[in-house]
């Protein structure tokens, strides 16, 4: 009863909130209601690792997915198939021109569920629209794409909604980049898949110009993702590599710093604590996946499945982690090497790599019957943190304020860690505005980084309004509004405010 009373209070607080919009309130209340159910067979030991304060002892976090998952966390519809066939559920014929195509997509977006209740993947917009764009007079195509993008920003009010372009150049891709530069909107999140053997410099430079003005697109290492997930991989949500026509059932994360806190030292961490927490988290994820597949009814009943836009056997699950820096620094201190800081010392970074190797081995040995598309294994994910994280650094990133003086050293550090995270990792670099005069400077860095197996890079100009907070985008001007107590359109703005205040997310070292 105590929990019921607590939940009631939570709901009432949500109802009375002066800063949440109507839609944000409805989503929050649904989460509260769902949290009262107890239908999962929870693994032994979970409670002691999960329901703890994040500042000290929480070792596993389920990112508020709820106690009875009603749908997979991330859903990646095959939009090309939709445009090809139309939808009988939505009473839509296949579109014949650009006007009908953007209209059809905007309709489908309203019906794609996810953890945020907004679609986390909007499609490879350049490939989807190009056949229609080339049959349309360019100025009309530009206008339609502009309206399409504005519609997305104002109605899909969550910047985890992610569109892809590239690696090949297209007119549609160019128009999207040109219009985004003018619009200065936080949504959609945008990734350019880049491969130096496929993407011409001119198209990549066009992408960089837009990125410097509005923090998007980010750049994904096409060769690397393709080799790991196949040609039909996509980038969704923050920077998550997933398979088209599938998605991710769930994402839970290890809070590595707190696992280090409960360890006596490196040996105890490696031999006892880390394997134990990994085992409990994997069991918990297995149970969440089982409920979604075997009990929720989602895969039997949802029209996306019935119309072949997603398939159960294309889903996997994401085994996440945060706080590598915290973890390494705590273990170094426990061993009496407090001068060896993560990102600054080879000894500390080597320990980080050892920890990754161990987590990787654990994942290779753990199988789940419903992750066929990824050979029965979960995919590792460097989670970027959430707004309520206090004293938790994102994924394997170097803490803000401790970045190496030289950019090359920072990139070399990234190169040691990016390879582990097939379902996403990334680093963000604000750059000085002098770089604006030399976009090829950033292109050279992207080329070099991707040759060195860095996976995903984001840039923004240090004084631009649209900024990349952790993986998603927000407008500084909107965060400031929220800080003044005014309500704002996008739910991710409040996450941005949290990350700014708790995670120093807007104080990264500026590169030039």
């Amino acid at each position: 009863m105590e929990r019921v009373e607590e939940t009631r209070n939570e709901i009432l607080e949500t109802i009375k909130s002066p800063v949440l919009t109507h839609e944000q309130k409805i989503a929050a209340m649904a989460r509260s209601a769902d949290s009262l159910l107890e239908v999962l067979n929870l693994p032994e030991g979970l409670d002691e690792l999960l329901n703890q304060p994040v500042e000290t002892s929480k070792c596993i976090c389920d990112l508020y997915e709820g106690h009875a998952p009603v749908r997979p966390r991330y859903i990646i519809p095959d939009y090309a198939r939709f445009l090809q066939n139309g939808s009988s559920f939505l009473h839509l014929d296949p579109p014949q021109d650009l006007e009908e195509a953007v209209n059809a997509l905007l309709i489908l977006y309203k019906h794609v569920p996810s953890i945020t209740n907004f679609p986390v993947y909007l499609g490879a917009l350049d490939e989807l629209l190009e056949p229609f764009v080339i049959r349309t007079e360019e100025e009309l195509a530009r206008k339609l794409i502009r309206m399409f993008l504005i519609h997305i920003d104002r109605t899909i009010t969550d910047s985890f909604s992610h569109a892809n372009i590239g690696p090949a150049p297209t007119t549609a891709g160019r128009l999207i980049l040109e219009e985004e530069e003018k619009l200065q909107d936080a949504i959609p999140n945008l990734t350019m898949k880049y491969d130096e053997n496929i993407t011409p410099d001119a198209f990549a430079l066009r992408g960089i110009r837009t990125a410097l003005s509005c923090a998007k697109p980010s750049f994904a290492n096409h060769r690397m993702f393709r080799d790991e997930l196949g040609e039909d991989y996509v980038i969704a949500s923050c920077y998550n590599g997933l398979v088209l026509g599938g998605g991710s059932y769930t994402l839970c994360r290890l809070i590595l710093g707190n696992i280090a806190r409960r360890s006596a030292g490196i040996d105890d961490f490696m031999k006892n604590q880390l394997p134990y927490v990994c085992e409990v988290m994997a069991s918990y994820m297995d149970e969440r996946v089982r409920f979604e597949v075997e009990e929720s009814g989602f895969f039997e009943n949802h029209f996306l499945v019935r119309e072949g836009l997603i398939r159960r056997d294309r889903f996997t699950a994401m085994f996440g982690l945060v706080g590598m820096a915290d973890c390494v620094n705590i273990l170094m201190e426990k061993e009496g090497f407090s001068g060896c800081r993560y990102g600054r010392s080879v000894k500390a970074d080597d320990l980080g790599v050892d920890i990754m190797e161990q987590i990787c081995r654990f994942n290779r040995n753990h199988t789940n019957p419903y992750c066929e598309v990824t050979d029965g294994h979960f995919l590792l994910h460097a989670q970027v943190g959430i707004s309520t994280d206090i004293g938790v650094t994102p994924g394997t990133r170097i803490p803000v304020g401790e970045e190496p003086k030289e950019w090359i050293d920072h990139l070399r550090h990234c190169a040691r860690f990016h390879k582990y995270f097939t379902s996403g990792t990334g680093d963000i670099f604000p750059v000085d505005k002098t770089v604006h005069k030399n976009e090829a400077f950033l292109l050279d860095i992207i080329k070099g980084a991707f040759r060195e197996n860095l996976r995903y890079l984001s840039f923004y100009e240090s004084d631009s309004d649209v900024v990349r907070v952790t993986g998603y985008l927000a407008k500084r001007s909107e965060i400031e509004k929220l800080e003044r107590g005014e309500n704002v359109l996008h739910d991710t703005t409040s996450l941005g405010m949290g990350a700014k205040q708790n995670g120093k997310a807007l104080e990264r070292r500026i590169r030039s």
Binding site: T434, A440, D444
Partner: protein, 279 residues
């Protein structure tokens, strides 16, 4: 042959196309009023003034030379600000191989290197050897020069170099003397020589409105080089004077406004330059 190296910047976005490692050599035969790194002009005379004033105790005199402890240095720049001779105690004497080793840490993130100064053409043999090493590693090699040393005398260096970024600080002899303290006959000969050999990557002029006639310089220089543009493109970079790093005595000049800079770019275009950049 060793060179005196003032500093190496691993990634530079402002020393030529793309991302490059920029290497600054010590010593210059010009004395430009607006020089923004005046500590690169002269060689250290071991007077010891910086040793006395270093707040981090990172400097000492050993065997008649200044010894610099980079780990103790707090990068406050007191030493270069107080140096009575326009030099720096943080200079290293390095072989081409040693510099190349530091450059190669940046591979594959850089497309090339740019050697600047001071005046790097005071070390032509060093440059040639360094460039040959870089070429072998697939790196693009650029020289950033004031044009005071005749390039015609160094065919092997030019062969190993992808091009020169040349300052034309003023076109008339009198104005050049006022700006730099030196004549510019060789500079202009170099401009034509390099352009006619397809080795002139870029010409640049720093615009200081009260110091010399920038429009005259840009028009004359553009006109002089226009006949060679068909053979190989040349960029004209028009640089606004900024007081950062400039010696106190010359910090009073006004920063040119955008309107003036645009009209100067237009002048270069009228003479036939297609690639004109304002920074």
């Amino acid at each position: 042959m060793k060179a005196s190296v003032n500093k190496i910047i691993p990634f530079s976005s402002v020393d030529g196309p793309g991302n490059r490692t920029a290497i600054f050599l010590q010593g210059c035969n010009f004395d430009c009023r607006y020089c923004h790194n005046p500590e690169t002009r002269n060689m250290c005379r071991v007077c010891g003034e910086c040793v006395k004033q270093c707040p981090a105790k990172a400097l000492s005199v050993e065997d008649g030379r200044i010894r610099y402890n980079i780990d103790a240095c707090c990068m406050c720049d007191t030493c270069i600000q107080i140096c009575p001779y326009g030099s720096s105690p943080r200079i290293r004497e390095l072989e081409p191989e040693e510099v190349f080793r530091e450059v190669s840490r940046q591979i594959p993130y850089i497309r090339g290197i740019t050697v600047s100064g001071g005046e790097c053409m005071m070390y032509p043999e060093f440059l040639k050897d360094l460039f040959l090493l870089c070429r072998k590693a697939g790196l693009h090699t650029l020289i950033d020069s004031n044009g005071s040393v005749p390039f015609a005398g160094y065919p092997e260096l030019l062969e190993a170099s992808d091009g020169v970024m040349l300052d034309i600080k003023a076109f008339t002899k009198d104005e050049h003397r006022r700006v730099t303290g030196a004549d510019n006959e060789t500079v202009l000969e170099n401009a034509v020589f390099l352009a006619s050999h397809g080795k002139l990557e870029e010409v640049r002029t720093v615009v200081v409105p009260e110091l010399f006639d920038a429009e005259g310089t840009i028009r004359e220089a553009s006109g002089l080089l226009a006949p060679y543009l068909t053979a190989a493109p040349i960029r004209y970079k028009i640089i606004a004077y900024r007081p950062f790093g400039v010696r106190e005595a010359y910090r009073h000049y006004k920063v040119p406004d955008g309107h003036l800079l645009e009209s100067l770019a237009e002048a270069a275009r009228e003479e036939g330059f297609r690639d004109v950049v304002i920074v």
